[in-house]
Symmetry: C2
Subunit: 342 residues, 2 copies
């Protein structure tokens, strides 16, 4: 069976009506929403075809139709008219986001808040990735007799620290040795190279000081690792409660979001032109089979860097939200570019 212009119009009308109301859409309702006049019987025939083609589903025999994953997909890829944002709106959004200017973490947090508020969804954001980052600076601050703070600053602007307890008292020599080793083995090194292997050879080369110094370098390597996997921020989780159709799965979704790793996986999906939409069962996590995820990447100084995303019901107002996400990721990218390079 072939797709016809009329079928497309009907499909679009079903999707839009369902997005608006959340109720299955019947043939009579649809009559009032189409820009051409046909009888409900005709619409029923067409809808039956669309069901057969896999674009619509019916919850039960005597109910209206609901878009399937495939239906949403077709709508988004071919039928949807993105809503233009008006000037006032975009300016006010930009102002809100820009209030987090200065510190990347603060900025992304702010952006997440804004997104969560605008979309009534859970917002996830990643900090600029540190993939090609290297060690810019390492500090060693004694806190007590046997404890020191080890601090790592990367070229991507990430700062990580850890308190670390050694087995021997810390002396002035300890501090000096730390900085000497850092200068020789860490400073300027890409984070990726600081792995267990590198660490082992380093410890071996420490000779008699290995026992004294190794805890601190182990800590430093830990920090490098943490800095490498870009942090994910989560905002507006509780918005999920506002969507009736998710009610049953909110606990499962939250459980999924609690762990960092699935989150970064979700966000790393952004491919073509920085925007990616995963609808319902297109998601690899089955907890999200009733949800949609919209991810938009942002670029800092021209290279792909991090991403903003939302998680909500499949029944999202894509025509409105997709432009939002693109706009906000643009703003974030712009502000970060200004902040980090200048």
């Amino acid at each position: 069976m072939d797709m016809t212009p009329r079928k497309e119009k009907i499909l679009a009308a079903v999707v839009e009506s369902f997005i608006r109301t959340g109720e299955p859409v019947g043939s009579k309702t649809l009559m009032g929403e189409l820009d051409f006049r046909v009888s409900s019987a005709t619409i029923r025939n067409e809808m039956a075809d669309l069901v057969e083609m896999g674009y619509l589903e019916q919850p039960h025999t005597s109910a209206g139709r609901v878009p399937s994953t495939l239906g949403y997909r077709y709508y988004i890829d071919k039928l949807m008219n993105k809503l233009e944002m008006n000037k006032d709106e975009s300016e006010s959004i930009e102002k809100s986001v820009a209030s987090g200017r200065g510190d990347p973490e603060q900025l992304l947090e702010k952006a997440g808040e804004v997104i969560a508020r605008l979309t009534n969804c859970a917002a996830i954001t990643t900090l600029p990735a540190g993939e090609q980052a290297c060690v810019r600076r390492a500090e060693f601050v004694p806190v007590s007799n046997r404890t020191a703070m080890v601090v790592l600053l990367t070229s991507a602007g990430t700062l990580k620290s850890k308190a670390c307890r050694g087995d021997m008292p810390i002396t002035q020599q300890t501090v000096e040795r730390f900085y000497a080793v850092c200068a020789a083995h860490f400073l300027g090194k890409p984070l990726e190279e600081i792995g267990t292997v590198m660490l082992q050879t380093l410890v071996a080369s420490l000779g008699e000081y290995a026992l004294e110094m190794s805890p601190y370098f182990v800590a430093l390597a830990d920090l490098a690792n943490e800095a490498l996997k870009s942090d994910v921020l989560l905002e507006g989780q509780s918005n999920l409660f506002n969507h009736r159709e998710l009610s049953g799965s909110v606990p499962d979704i939250m459980e999924l979001l609690r762990k960092g790793e699935p989150l970064s996986k979700l966000l790393s999906a952004g491919e073509k032109d920085g925007l990616n939409v995963k609808i319902g069962t297109e998601n690899e996590y089955k907890q999200l089979s009733n949800s949609s995820v919209i991810v938009s990447r942002y670029n800092v100084n021209g290279s792909r860097s991090g991403a903003l995303g939302i998680i909500g019901p499949t029944r999202l107002n894509y025509a409105k939200l997709i432009p939002y996400m693109q706009f906000i990721s643009g703003v974030v990218g712009k502000i970060l570019s200004e902040t980090l390079e200048d």
Copy 2:
């Protein structure tokens, strides 16, 4: 009407049975759980008295009895026998918690995880408070032409940092001035003294460099403020979903927990001997009127320092969980004392 030993036994049995099963307790059920034999009619009479006295409630005329807030309170204060923890258990708990040794944040996070797992509740923890902490160290790390990381380390071991964008290019002089001003006005100063007033006089005294330098000191003061309000960690939020009786209020509770301020308020309540239990309507937040909060403070080197808490339904196994909380806060205090002072 007076409390009698028999009434006390009946109250305790009702509370314990209800905690165990979650079902209202009837007079017949109770017969089997008391260590003396009386008829169900007698128990009914006594229970009617307990209702009148405010210790029990009945959901409706023909249902069993449920403990009221007052009933729980009486049980916890006068009737409860704390369960002893067995050796194996306490050792394994201590080992789990101790795996976070080294870094305070990591430790408290670990402790929160352990608590959440053991209690099936949401766990909240605070890092050691920085109340009397002072500025131990400040660092200024240029990241780009106009942006620098400002880093603050307190004597309590808290490390905070912020990227900060100035209005003028950063030069070697900027850096030197920063450290000079820090040495003169920040190092060694109690965090509490670094407020807006102090900042204003400082900026005034900067003279011609005010414009160039003030953003960094504003950032530094921000950091001091952040370090002052002790951070709160939240673990096992999703455990709340496991309690049927909370189902309706989980969204409200999560919304409450999302904000930092109510959290620290909850935790700061711990008074007498470090342990505090707030039952149902005893909580000042109405979202928690069906929940109980158990808070146990921990001490670092003898002075009250931070707290661990759980949030769950009123129907908590207090006799088991209170010892847990006391034990874990003891472990946390011990480990932190070792780490921070030595």
